[in-house]
């Protein structure tokens, strides 16, 4: 088994843009490509059958009679109350989606630091598409003004509010959560009855904060669990790993023969 190098996320460049289109500010258009810039580094494991080490698969099982249900026999249901569903056809759901568009529309500019990170969802890097003059102008003017554009984008048929800002020499687009996707802390009863602190205590707390103040550096934090698992994988690779065998079905056997024949024919060409 070949050992695959585990890439460092911050050096990774995706092969293809995730989206391409134009940033539209009034009458000005800036053609851009959008690339994924954040990654979830967590290891993912698969469940195996303990006895023979073969991977397990999930099946959709009817809660009433335990029969296995194929995909084509499924529909989506919205649970209105316990065990009462409204059924939706795929067509109905598709019709409700907004049409996708190739525009990032900027409505206004705000002070970047005035936005609470609570709203931030996912960030993407923008790179210039075709001309880089318009891109450079937008980037430089955002840096100069310390502002960020607020607007909207439709990606994969969902519309998101967004923030367009400068980050390390590039334009970054961050999708935002909608207001009703965030629950306000003041909904919590406990927070409504907070006591005012005494002045002496407050002075001490402020002093501690000031003593511990410094520059923010994310590199001071490491995922030790991830690091340990990585070491374990390296160790286990030297020992025994269980290789999953794919059961070759009857249909696939003929396919294999056909593939072998064609591959040898193509080699001759």
């Amino acid at each position: 088994m070949e050992e695959e190098p585990i890439e460092e996320p911050n050096t990774r460049i995706p092969k293809r843009p995730f989206w391409s289109g134009t940033v539209t500010i009034g009458l000005v258009n800036v053609p851009v490509k959008l690339y994924t810039m954040t990654y979830d580094k967590a290891f993912s494991f698969r469940f195996l059958h303990k006895q023979d080490g073969q991977p397990l698969k999930y099946q959709r099982v009817c809660t009433k009679d335990n029969a296995v249900v194929p995909w084509e026999d499924t529909v989506k249901g919205y649970e209105v109350s316990k065990n009462r569903f409204i059924v939706f056809e795929k067509k109905e759901l598709d019709a409700a989606r907004p049409p996708s568009s190739e525009k990032i529309r900027i409505d206004k500019f705000v002070d970047y630091l005035s936005i609470d990170p609570i709203y931030f969802e996912r960030s993407y890097v923008l790179t210039p598409d075709k001309s880089n003059e318009a891109y450079s102008l937008l980037l430089t003017s955002l840096l100069k003004t310390h502002k960020a554009g607020v607007g909207r984008i439709t990606m994969r048929t969902k519309e998101y509010p967004l923030l367009l800002h400068a980050y390390k020499g590039g334009l970054v687009l961050t999708t935002l959560r909608y207001a009703d996707e965030i629950s306000d802390p003041d909904n919590f009863e406990e927070l409504k009855r907070l006591k005012e602190p005494e002045k002496k205590e407050l002075d001490l707390a402020v002093k501690i904060i000031n003593d511990l103040s410094g520059e923010f550096d994310i590199k001071e934090y490491e995922d030790t669990y991830e690091e340990n698992i990585r070491k374990l994988i390296a160790k286990k690779l030297k020992g025994e790993t269980i290789i999953a065998e794919k059961p070759v079905k009857e249909e696939a056997k003929e396919l294999m023969t056909a593939l072998q024949e064609t591959l040898s024919q193509l080699k001759k060409q």
Partner: protein, 290 residues
Amino acid sequence: MWLEKLTKVDFTNLDKVLYPEEKITKAQVIQHYVRMAPKMLSILKDRPTVLTRFPNGIDKEGFYEKDMPMGTPPWVKTFRKYSETAERTINYVVCNDLDTLVWLANLAALELHMTLSKIDEFEKPDLLVFDVDPEPPASTDDVVDVALMLKEKLDGLDLRSYAKTSGKRGLHILVPLVRKYTFSQTREYVHQIGTYLARESPIVVSEFSRIKKPGTVYIDYLQNSHGRTMVCPYSLRATPRATVSYPLDWRDVKKGLKPEEFTLSSVAKSESNPWKGMLDDKQKLEKSVD
């Protein structure tokens, strides 16, 4: 031998029935494309491909897909081009190897349609096509008549032509070209020949019209346009009997020809290659039509 060593494609739902009437499964569809690959790939090479997909079989809704599908693996070649008809940039799939062809088949892309030009000179077609299509009650025999008239005319212009079934009721007649003409030139040339034949025969229609006159045979010249596609030779069609768009020897283009007999199962064992050398037979449009 492991399947993984033969292809990069991870097959899914191989036993799914895609042609219910003939009980043809996805495994059989993939096998068809694997068998046709040696002849098909040389024609598909460097051409943007448009897919017609039927993930739940031909009885269920299918869809036309110009853009590369979601989850296209990085090893698949693609071609980015602004489409004037769609008014947006399209990332076309370019099927240059067996893995890509097999991957498309696994996506239930039953029909593969290709452009008449290649990505390196997209504005200069290397194929010219006459799409000959009957309007009932015109029969296949009527199509054959028109195709033979067309061949005679092309012979007179010193042009060697190649015929295939469309996989439905019509025939496609192709002339491979030196890449020096624009689409408007090839379109005009095909149109002129169509107009000439329409003068010779009362059943030939050479002008596009939304309402087709019953009993006529239409020679479509508009397919010779930027970004337009033609069903690829050896491609399956989404018809109940799993018909195939299949190359013909001109000697077999005669009364009694039955295009519906070229099906997934009937072409499987066919060794013949009536189009041998077609792609190298690059010709110039030197003689004027009239």
